[in-house]
């Protein structure tokens, strides 16, 4: 049986591109996996499920809906009971916002919605993966990705595509089919709850795809050249390779106490300085 190739997902991309050591740990033979919890995705998944169900009913040719029916009429407003009260509140707000923005839209649901898509990296060293929340085909033939999240975002800038957007586009567009509609490869709509439900639009262009490809290749090369090279930042708090990382202090506590106890004058070090205040 062939060994399973390491996978680089859209969610891992941002942190992986920022730190060679992190990327090396994700793609290496002894690759690390951070523990994950389903909790951060519960609201987003529930919203996506409701939207997919509503679009599926609306587009069902065997059981056509009465004329004039819109997505707004079919979205389930009652939040799933497995969500907490606070999450249910966010769910209802996000559904309302979705209905308001997309009620009259003519885009149709692509069957790749709610699936995970894969693509081999160019050199065959690893696999790129992306969870597709919602995918639509617009009347002009272009694809529209709708990403759904109820979480806070540290990096998202309104109107700008993210590396994760380009990552998903690279997987969806595929080799040889990078057809550009006015240079637009993928139209991205983000439905978020930050701090109030918001729909944001951006485009992933061919330039973004080329930039991402260059960035990934450079990051992979850097991580292969020096797998211990680190870049410190907010992403360290979610790093699967934090243990042993030279950028994060991890000296033993007793060692620190020993240093404090053996240093001369450790009992009276501050008095002189503080008397002047």
């Amino acid at each position: 049986m062939a060994p399973t190739l390491p996978t680089l997902s859209a969610g891992q991309l941002d942190g992986a591109l920022r730190c060679p050591r992190r990327l090396a740990s994700l793609l290496g033979k002894d690759r690390q996996r951070s523990g994950s919890s389903d909790a951060p995705f519960r609201v987003g998944n529930a919203v996506s499920d409701a939207i997919i169900t509503a679009h599926t009913i609306l587009e069902d040719r065997r059981h056509p809906q009465p004329p004039g029916t819109t997505i707004d009429d079919l979205l389930v407003r009652d939040a799933p009971k497995h969500l907490s009260v606070e999450e249910q509140y966010v769910y209802v707000q996000m559904i309302d916002q979705y209905a308001e923005v997309f009620a009259e839209d003519e885009a149709t649901l692509d069957p790749r919605s709610s699936t995970t898509q894969y693509r081999n990296s160019a050199a065959g060293q690893f696999v790129l993966s992306a969870k597709i929340d919602l995918l639509f085909r617009r009347s002009n033939g272009s694809l529209e990705l709708r990403r759904v999240s109820a979480k806070r975002s540290a990096t998202h800038v309104r109107g700008q595509s993210t590396p994760a957007d380009a990552h998903v586009a690279a997987i969806l567009v595929g080799r040889g089919s990078a057809r550009a509609h006015n240079d637009t490869v993928l139209h991205v709509a983000r439905l978020t709850a930050l701090p109030t439900p918001t729909v944001d639009f951006s485009f992933v262009t061919l330039g973004d795809l080329q930039h991402l490809r260059t960035e990934i290749l450079a990051a992979v090369l850097a991580s292969q050249k020096d797998a211990e090279q680190t870049t410190e930042g907010w992403w360290c708090t979610s790093c699967p390779a934090a243990i042993g990382c030279p950028a994060i202090a991890q000296r033993g506590f007793e060692e620190v106490i020993q240093r404090m106890q053996t240093s001369p004058g450790s009992d009276s070090y501050s008095d002189a300085t503080f008397k002047r205040m």
């Binding site: 599926t56 709850a193 243990i243 202090a249 506590f253």
Partner: protein, 259 residues
């Protein structure tokens, strides 16, 4: 297209209004002053904010928090750019900030600043220490870091709002103390935390000295807190008028104490 939901096993004692039982992700547990404060104030708030990742209501755009963050940024810029040639009060005259409250805070700081006797190592610094044996990543943002000639490292925390009279029971100060002792490349021989009270009644300082006993007690507090959070299954609400009043989830939480 059918949507299937996986069945969930609900442990005994789980708060049903929290939905599916959730734990912090297995693996590394991240702790900071604000995370621990949230957990101690109300486990439900900790759950919603740090495990689910909800933002809640955003209600402090121009309030005290904004003045605080602007004061922090202003002081950092002044220390980094002008310590050698200008004293802080002089610099205020040249380029006064717009908000009078910020000006007052900076003037109060000028009376308390250890410039001249210590070296400024930086401001708004993110520091981290990994307790490997416990898989806990302790993080904190230090307002200002000073090094004294005797090797002492001093963490300064600017308080533009309320400031306690003592730091003996202040968990955030305990965290800063631990981070100063363990996370800095300087490897200090002694550490202390100083809160600068810059708002309201004028400038004053409150100090916590990092004796070995104090550090041991702080370490034990953090480890106990990590164990408690890891064991948590229900994340119950702790309704309290003071806590609920400023909670980002106060209008939706079914347990919130409302006026």
């Amino acid at each position: 297209m059918s949507i299937e939901r996986r069945p969930v096993l609900v442990p005994e004692g789980h708060d049903p209004t929290l939905g599916d039982p959730c734990q912090p992700a297995p693996g590394m547990l991240v702790l900071s002053a604000s995370r621990i404060r949230d957990y101690l104030d109300c486990p439900r708030r900790y759950f919603l904010r740090w495990i689910v990742g909800l933002a809640g209501e955003d209600f402090d755009h121009d309030g005290p928090a904004a003045i605080g963050s602007q004061t922090h940024a202003e002081l950092r810029a002044r220390h980094l750019g002008n310590m050698a040639d200008h004293d802080i009060e002089g610099f205020i005259d040249e380029e006064s900030p717009r908000d009078p409250a910020i000006t007052r805070c900076i003037q109060a700081h000028a009376q308390l600043c250890p410039r001249g006797t210590a070296t400024y190592l930086g401001g708004e610094l993110d520091v981290r220490w990994l307790l490997r044996s416990k898989a806990v990543l302790l993080t904190g943002r230090i307002d200002a870091l000073w090094q004294f000639p005797d090797g002492t490292i001093e963490v300064r925390d600017y308080k533009t709002g309320n400031c306690p009279d003592s730091l003996d029971d202040d968990l955030a100060a305990a965290i800063y103390l631990l981070l100063a002792a363990t996370a800095l490349p300087q490897q200090p021989t002694s550490v202390r935390v100083v809160y600068e009270s810059l708002g309201g009644e004028g400038g004053r300082t409150v100090t916590l000295h990092g004796s070995p006993d104090r550090l041991r007690a702080s370490y034990r507090e953090i480890v106990d807190m990590a164990d408690a959070i890891r064991k948590q299954r229900t994340f119950p609400a702790s309704p309290n008028a003071m806590v609920c009043r400023s909670c980002a989830f106060r209008s939706t939480c079914p347990h919130a104490t409302r006026p």
